[in-house]
Symmetry: C2
Subunit: 294 residues, 2 copies
């Protein structure tokens, strides 16, 4: 790979020497790596994505692929607490990795719909968060990351609180969080659930923060917490271009209006069309099995 | 989208007028669409992919995304025969859509591992075909498509033979096949199973063809059929650059050596690491459920 990346694009792409010269003169591009990672390509891709092409998530760009490849999966798999569900894969993110995220959403851990999709926040909880973002006009300029890379067993208790601050787990998590802040114009960090709040408190960036109770909490708690969040978010973040803001408060009973389908542009090509819609589609009848309902 | 695509890259990407001028002079690029679809970008991406970046499949490029969006899913879903398993999504392809495929592999229909991955040829049958390709030195220059977009109920019988030639199904399938031939230097068409042979016979392109019995057939049949294929394929297709050819014949009993893990560069980012390895991981305990074992 390294050798290919450092070669001249002329030789590799069958460009003429004259064309290669123009690339160099116009953009200082002399290697394939420079061509691939040149800012105007990444910018063009982000613009096209915002315009709907592709209509699916192509996966992380090179810098994020490298970061995700460093995930401490071994640490999770070998964890003596047995608190992690590592039989299937982790779910590492959902949303914009193209420097256009303005809201960083932090959750606790992925469940089975997230495992199937290979993305965070896909099941009912994710659909509820999606609707909260929609209400404040954040239709695509978000990035979602989790406190833990794998699903956890049980509640966020004292043991998980301690595990969350283990150097391998905290260090890697904050490496991702920091990369998001450095690359993207993050205006607000939204923490979802107490595990996420604990993680962001430990990190303590200067950015504005809003907290909501977990979308799986008691309905009355959600109504109170999420209504406060509506006001707090709209006070700090403008809606996406062309997006409407709907601050009509949540009210009991919370029903189907309090969730929204996951945008297809957040999911990989080939994901079944029902996943991410109409609530959660899967569960774990035993630790090593996921039962998925169409 | 159309409006964005036709705008000048200068305005959209914050390039100076001078830079935009250089793009125009060097490559005749005046719009974002031309920038995005320019051959040297697609070529650069194919080269990088061959060199291992990204290490996952980013999904179809624009022309193939448009083709796949035209799939006659409604025709399958409403099919009066009830022969199609349409509760989950289709699996449309696996492999190279970047004009580097030299072998077009045609199968019959996707099963549940394929549904989970959103790619064709992922379970045990796919792993057996992968190993056949590996033996003849085809490590990545293949494209796999199916006769039917969804899984079928039962065997490829007279009813399915007729359904396969319905204009909606045959016409769309041949549209994909023809696009593969037009875009990519296909040297050989490998048909896997009788449904695939029937589909390619009906299409009748001039390309060289090799047929093998389905990898789920009786072991003795596989050994005979696949050994003939080894010779026939190596006679017609050179191995990929740097790849070895191993024509040691298949022998009974067929065991774990007669399958190979699906390359991760064929699967979307986020797919669980065990899928595509060690055989088939899922089944359908009832029509609307997939049970997936880690």
């Amino acid at each position: 790979l390294e050798e290919v990346l450092e070669a001249s694009p002329a030789a590799l792409l069958g460009l003429s020497e004259g064309d290669a010269d123009k690339l160099r003169q116009a953009f200082g591009i002399t290697t394939l790596r420079e061509l691939a990672e040149h800012g105007h390509h990444a910018g063009a891709r982000a613009l096209l994505a915002a315009a709907g092409s592709p209509a699916f998530d192509p996966g992380p760009p090179p810098a994020w692929e490298r970061r995700f490849a460093e995930a401490p999966l071994r640490h999770y798999a070998d964890h003596s607490s047995g608190r992690f569900r590592v039989d299937f894969g982790p779910a590492l993110y959902r949303g914009r990795l193209d420097r256009t995220a303005r809201v960083l959403v932090v959750g606790q851990d992925p469940a089975t719909d997230e495992t199937i999709a290979g993305r965070a926040f896909v099941g009912l909880s994710g659909q509820r968060v999606q609707q909260l973002l929609h209400k404040v006009g954040i239709e695509r300029s978000y990035l979602m990351l989790n406190t833990f890379l794998y699903g956890v067993r049980g509640q966020f208790d004292d043991e998980l609180r301690a595990i969350s601050l283990e150097p391998e787990i905290q260090g890697y998590r904050e490496q991702l969080f920091s990369a998001a802040l450095e690359e993207s114009p993050i205006e607000l960090i939204l923490t979802v659930g107490s595990g996420a709040r604990h993680a962001v408190d430990a990190w303590a960036p200067a950015n504005a923060r809003v907290h909501v109770v977990h979308p799986g909490a008691d309905d009355a708690l959600i109504v109170q917490s999420w209504n406060q969040a509506l006001a707090a978010i709209t006070a700090r973040v403008d809606p996406d271009a062309g997006a409407a803001v709907d601050t009509a408060p949540y009210a009991l009973p919370l029903g189907d209006a309090h969730r929204m389908d996951i945008p297809r542009f957040d999911l990989a090509f080939g994901v079944a069309p029902t996943l991410g819609t109409g609530g959660t589609h899967s569960h774990r009848p035993d630790p090593q099995t996921i039962a998925w309902r169409a």
